[in-house]
Symmetry: C2
Subunit: 513 residues, 2 copies
């Protein structure tokens, strides 16, 4: 076989046939992605209990098929040949080739056994973590953390032996980032938010959430969720809203996005902001250029840029004073008894109480990045060898005390709270904080470009914001990286300053500092 392949690469190239081969590869990858998307997103929402094991097997094998299709040596040669014909190939296919080569590079040098072992390890670790979290039992999960970090170090070595392993993974989750980038980002966040939060906590003026306390029928909340999705501007003909404990969004294509949320009778705002948040992810997926359908470009470009969209609609729009009017109207439509009497300003205050707590997913806009900071610092220590898993509970407690002023009550609400490490997603958390900062910079660019942002939010018609984001971010799909997108949209490279300025201004005003 080797001879045949070699013969093929040295033979005169046939770019037309090569382009057809590229299109066929993309169809295969798209079909497998679509299948994994549908199985992986609808499965946990609607499958009966016994379906779990075989779903896992099917998903694992589909993933393997996708990896094999991409890592076929012929594909490497194909992409190299096509890259040498830029004029014939055209802009879109060149972008596809760039993304396919990058995806391939993440996989092709890691031995299949190493990947399979990592997959088995994380499946087992996730199962152990689930039980450990329920039982507040750090000891049972602890060895898995060290094993996963070891395995990820080894894989990073295969992927790029010249780079620091943690840098390799940071770059995997957000192309173009490394420790130097995040160190600078987080030091600015820390220098701003830690003292700002401390000042808020000692202020005599503290917003109250009393006006949103009460009991709210959950079926009504779901009808309200539909209205919120419409208010946000989602295409309801390309959306399915499901119900899960942990909300998520899965974009199968621009024509089919799955969004899930939850409804708690005692916390109506939880439903509101989880729908606005997931809706931001969904808007991104629904607005990728239709010309990219079925290709590797037909998704959001990165975790950070995705989180930028979700937090944009959750916070920069959703928790703004200007948007409190339209939001109050939706709440009052479904819960007239309670919200008929609430003013937009009261609602705005209730949405923005900064309350340091131990749990990330319940954090407000101000304390949220500090939760991420804790995880980033610990991940770095684990990868550098400065700490091992046994140090985590102590590190966790110290950092929560120092940054948030919070006492961690137990491991369940401490280092066991998140699923990410058990999944082998070290390097993923930082994108959450970065997304908020991307969003603040994008908003500043909109305003600088002449948009009356507050007037748009107050009008309840978000079309100008969506148009701006579609033109500058969404429609590009994966064709441009987050760094390129920010620079093109904002006329300057990424800067954390817009984010820290925004938080400072908003919370200084709210707490009258």
């Amino acid at each position: 076989m080797a001879e045949t392949d070699l013969a093929q690469t040295t033979a005169p190239s046939n770019p037309r046939a090569d382009m057809e081969a590229l299109d066929a590869l993309e169809r295969t990858l798209f079909s497998l992605r679509y299948a994994m998307g549908e199985i992986g997103s609808l499965g946990p929402v609607i499958d009966p209990p016994k379906a779990t094991a075989q779903r896992g097997e099917a998903l694992a094998h589909l993933q393997r098929m996708s990896t094999e299709a991409l890592c076929d040596p012929k594909v490497g040669e194909l992409l190299d040949r096509l890259e040498q014909e830029p004029e014939l190939v055209g802009e879109t296919r060149l972008a596809q080739i760039k993304i396919l080569k990058r995806d391939r590079a993440s996989l092709v040098d890691v031995p299949a056994e190493e990947q399979a072992a990592f997959s088995r390890l994380t499946v087992e670790a996730n199962d152990v973590w689930r039980r450990a979290k329920a039982a507040n039992d750090w000891a049972s999960f602890e060895p898995y953390v060290d094993r996963i970090v070891d395995s990820m170090r080894r894989m990073a070595e295969y992927m790029d032996s010249e780079k620091d392993p943690y840098d390799v993974w940071l770059n995997e989750f957000e192309y173009g980032t490394d420790r130097a980038f995040y160190d600078s980002f987080f030091s600015q966040v820390k220098d701003c938010v830690v003292p700002l939060l401390a000042a808020c906590m000692t202020s005599r003026h503290r917003p109250s959430h009393a006006c949103v306390d009460g009991s709210f029928d959950t079926e009504r909340q779901w009808r309200m969720a539909d209205d919120l999705a419409r208010l946000e501007g989602l295409d309801m003909d390309a959306l399915w809203i499901g119900r899960t404990e942990h909300p998520f969004t899965a974009g199968l294509s621009r024509d089919f996005v799955v969004v899930t949320g939850h409804a708690y009778a005692d916390n109506v705002l939880s439903n509101v902001f989880s729908i606005l948040h997931e809706g931001g992810h969904a808007l991104y997926e629904q607005n990728v250029d239709a010309a990219y359908a079925g290709t590797s470009l037909s998704e959001g470009t990165s975790m950070g840029m995705h989180e930028a969209q979700s937090r944009f609609f959750e916070n920069l729009v959703g928790r703004s004073e200007a948007f409190a009017g339209p939001l109050r109207a939706v709440l009052a439509k479904h819960f007239a008894g309670q919200f008929g009497r609430v003013t937009a300003h009261q609602l705005y205050l209730a949405e923005n109480c900064a309350e340091p707590g131990p749990v990330r997913t319940e954090a407000d806009e101000l304390t949220y990045p500090l939760h991420i900071l804790v995880r980033y610092e610990i991940e770095q220590m684990l990868f550098s060898g400065e700490a091992t898993a046994s140090d985590i509970p102590r590190l966790w407690a110290d950092k929560y005390r120092d940054y948030l002023g919070v006492r961690v009550p137990d491991n369940t609400r401490g280092a066991l709270q998140d699923t990410h490490w058990s999944d082998g997603s070290f390097g993923y958390f930082p994108t959450y904080a970065l997304g908020s900062a991307f969003g603040a910079q994008l908003k500043a660019a909109m305003v600088r470009g002449g948009m009356d942002f507050n007037a748009v939010c107050a009008s309840g018609d978000l079309a100008p914001i969506r148009t701006w984001l579609r033109d500058n971010i969404w429609h590009w799909g994966r064709a441009k990286d987050s760094g390129e997108l920010i620079e093109a949209a904002c006329g300057e490279p990424f800067s954390a300053k817009y984010y820290t300025d925004y938080l400072t201004e908003k919370f200084s005003s709210l707490y009258r500092l």
Copy 2:
């Protein structure tokens, strides 16, 4: 490449490696089948409107990947080599090899362009049919019928040039059948049912359905459907019940079966019998031997044998006088006002009114096989060249008049009523009638083996029936064909006599002939 492959087949074989290759192939086919099952069954139930087109593309490509995996020349050689090592390979893998070779033979000789053209043609035809049915417009659909028959004739020629093309397709949908088999079967059905129906229609004693007429809240009907599924003995932890206009069952694995039904406020029995029917299909899928999970054996063996199970629970159990007691109790639990006053005998009569009508899916147990007979005879004429599509409306009207005494009001309720022909499923309809006959023969064998069938139905605990069917039919999956299963379970080959005897006895008694 050819040389390398050839070298491999002539080299000393390595059966262990071959078995691993077989297992890997099965995993690939299983994963693709699982993906197509989830996308194809949940998609139409829950996807938003815009999702349709890309779902179709993804499904078509996954199907192509499955075909390519199976038709790879190396797979043919692999299966041949393994077949020569029966002792090492073992019984289960030998059955897998038998099934894989058969599935492969249906595909491997048909040129890929022919398959692709057929796929495109039927997608288009289905779309045209949908609009034609709505508009009562036979003319627009007519040319597609001729084109599909032509295409199926050509494909049959590739598949087995020595056989009559319609025989090839009959055998595809029900292994071991041909025109000779069905001619004999249908002539017995015709000779029995046509005069029997005519006698019923002139009888002075006709059962009444007045006791089930009324209006029934559809949400209550869905809660009743859950109880019916439990009464039938379905594993609720491996079942998802969805809502569609046209009920269907999809078995993704024994651990996950999708069943759909419909609820009409003015016809509670429609929901009852569609759930019992689809539940029969689901019981089959849920009870395939666990050892076959993830292999080509992990499904029901044929269309006819599947329909045997669904009609068994719908009719032989569901519409029996003995089961009317337990069924009445479920109806009375959910609709006490109406069914509190209805007796089991009244319900039994209401379930069994023979009423010739033009629409197959609304047919009762007695007239149902006549609807199939009409289609079988017309299909045969189309494939033999005795008729073309332009003759169909006239043939349809004549046969409905002669066999059912029915005047066909329009093409919407005539030759355009079913989707099957537009999908290219010529040869599929006969399995529907055959399934009923399989079921009657299986019931006779149960009784001959000592089961007090009526007592089991009357008790409401169907476990003895399920156990019998599981041991004799269900657990074999695809490892045995329908003919083998019937012969092993009943101690004799298939015979239509049990079916005609059953219908004669039941309806003679109901109509006091």
